[in-house]
């Protein structure tokens, strides 16, 4: 079940350093939202606060609220582990578990979350996830080979399969195609279009065309200056952001990046 996400007055810190200030947004369920903006403006930082991965870093903290279908995931007493089971994440660099086979990589989330699962059940989940990640055909006859033995693009799709195997409601992707060739990129973009039916997807990308191709909504983040916190300049329909943005800074960034 895809869910709606809202950020309210988010101030995100690394130690005393305010990395991102006063971010507010709403992301509709079953949509693809792209985060764009210059390097260092805090896209990854915001993304990682959406599934409480930010606090994994020593000294990092968040002020404000992130509502998932209305429930604040930062409310005291909420288990970050449970939050991450609901909101999955795919990273910039493919990071399959090196000691595990392809099969075990996909099964890892389920196996590690909840001890015993029937083998037949697990088999079904692994196949379904690999099919959803558009990788099944390439790996079905070598499921017991190490996941690290796949190509970069295959590894990234393996990581996507691993993330969706635990059936999250939201999928966060931080530049999932930046290490990939155009063909693998296309494969993953196709995949995102399909996954949208079941998930709410947020994707960070530096590739404007990619944002334009796959997202319905686009959020532009910017940085007032060096040492200043990043901010959300505007968020609108992707079409509007790319053709007729409200804010001058968005227009400058888009035209600069394109021209």
């Amino acid at each position: 079940m895809a869910k709606r996400i809202e950020g309210k007055n988010l101030n995100i810190y690394y130690g005393k350093f305010l990395a991102v200030s006063n971010v507010n947004f709403t992301i509709a369920p079953n949509s693809v939202t792209a985060f764009i903006g210059p390097s260092g403006c805090g896209k990854s930082t915001v993304l990682r606060t959406l599934n409480r991965m930010h606090e994994v870093i020593a000294g990092a903290s968040v002020q404000g609220k992130v509502l998932l279908d209305g429930d604040d995931i930062y409310e005291s007493g909420i288990d970050p582990v449970a939050v991450r089971r609901t909101i999955g994440m795919v990273f910039q660099r493919p990071n399959p578990f090196p000691t595990m086979s392809i099969y075990d990589n996909v099964a890892a989330g389920l196996k590690l979350q909840s001890g015993r699962i029937r083998k037949s059940e697990l088999d079904a989940v692994v196949e379904k996830s690999l099919r959803s990640a558009n990788l099944w055909g390439e790996v079905q006859d070598r499921l017991n080979k190490p996941g690290a033995g796949l190509s970069g693009g295959q590894q990234q799709r393996l990581c996507i399969a691993r993330a969706i195997a635990v059936a999250p409601d939201v999928l966060l992707m931080d530049e999932p195609c930046s290490a990939l060739d155009p063909i693998s990129t296309m494969a993953i973009e196709d995949l995102i279009r399909v996954l949208k039916k079941d998930y709410t997807i947020v994707i960070v990308t530096h590739n404007m065309q990619q944002a334009a191709r796959i997202s319905e909504r686009t959020a532009f983040f910017n940085l007032a200056g060096v040492g200043q916190p990043g901010e959300l300049v505007e968020m609108d329909d992707t079409q509007t952001i790319f053709t007729n943005p409200t804010d001058k800074r968005t227009e400058d960034y888009i035209s600069g990046a394109f021209g």
């Binding site: 609901t86 990071n95 595990m100 086979s101 890892a108 590690l112 993330a163």
Partner: protein, 322 residues
Amino acid sequence: MTATLTRSARPTVFARPSGARKFKNGLATTLVTAAFLVALVPLVWLLWTVISKGFHVIMSSSWWTESQHNQTQKTPGGGALHAIVGTLEQVALCSVISVPIAILVGIYLVEYARGPFARVTTFMVDILTGIPSIVAALFIYALFVSTFHHLRSGWLVSMALVILMVPVIVRTTEEMLKLVPNELREASYALGVPKWKTIAKIVLPTAFTGLVTGVILGVARVAGETAPLLILVGYAQGMNANLFGTKFQGSLPGMINDEFTNLNTATGGSAYHLDPNGKRVAGGAINYAPDRMWGAALTLIAIVLLLNVIARFVARFNKVSQ
């Protein structure tokens, strides 16, 4: 980009490496190779000495099946079984205690520790790493023998060895866990896996080969320690498999030491000097002490080597088949 960077014109043909660079490169290569050889020579020499003097000794079957019970340096035969059993028992008890403690401390330091307590622990481990074995032995003696009036015993040796082994394994565990990329931990957290399970199922398996190496280094560090043996248990020539008894117990370093003292007393404590290289004294009396000494030395090396091979095999077995 509107600004054009000015750069000096480049020749269209690439230049060959300059003479100076070739020379420096050659010099560096020579130095590194020379250092390698300098390090290698003593090692090979040592191994050759021990093997050439000890090999024929350990090839006799009695070496592996008999003790030195009732033997003197003038009587042939007997073996090192008592010493092998003693050493294996002492090192095994030490490892059973040290390995879990040390790996847990290593995990704590890398995965959990923050702030001053972590720094203090790291500092303590650093100090412990430098503790001489005789000091560890004296500490155990003071604690168990002087304070608690426990009689000297094999397991006290194990306790002293624990003090020496733990910091070695903590250090390597730390290094190996730090080598595990953070991305793997994050990937696991992002799947909703709790921290302790991430450590147990992702981090430790990834570092497994390295952890095994650390344990082997620890075993190699303590297996040849002699000072704790001299202080905490007497050397017995006969078999004593009771690690917790209060009788003397054989051990390989103990045997080497014992046979070494026998070199000079081949003829009943008179002033003859016997070269460890030869069996015969000037008077023609036969002394079996040198053989036994080198045999015990080779056996000790062989045991550490064997453990190494086994550990590597285990580590290989743990990997996903390629």
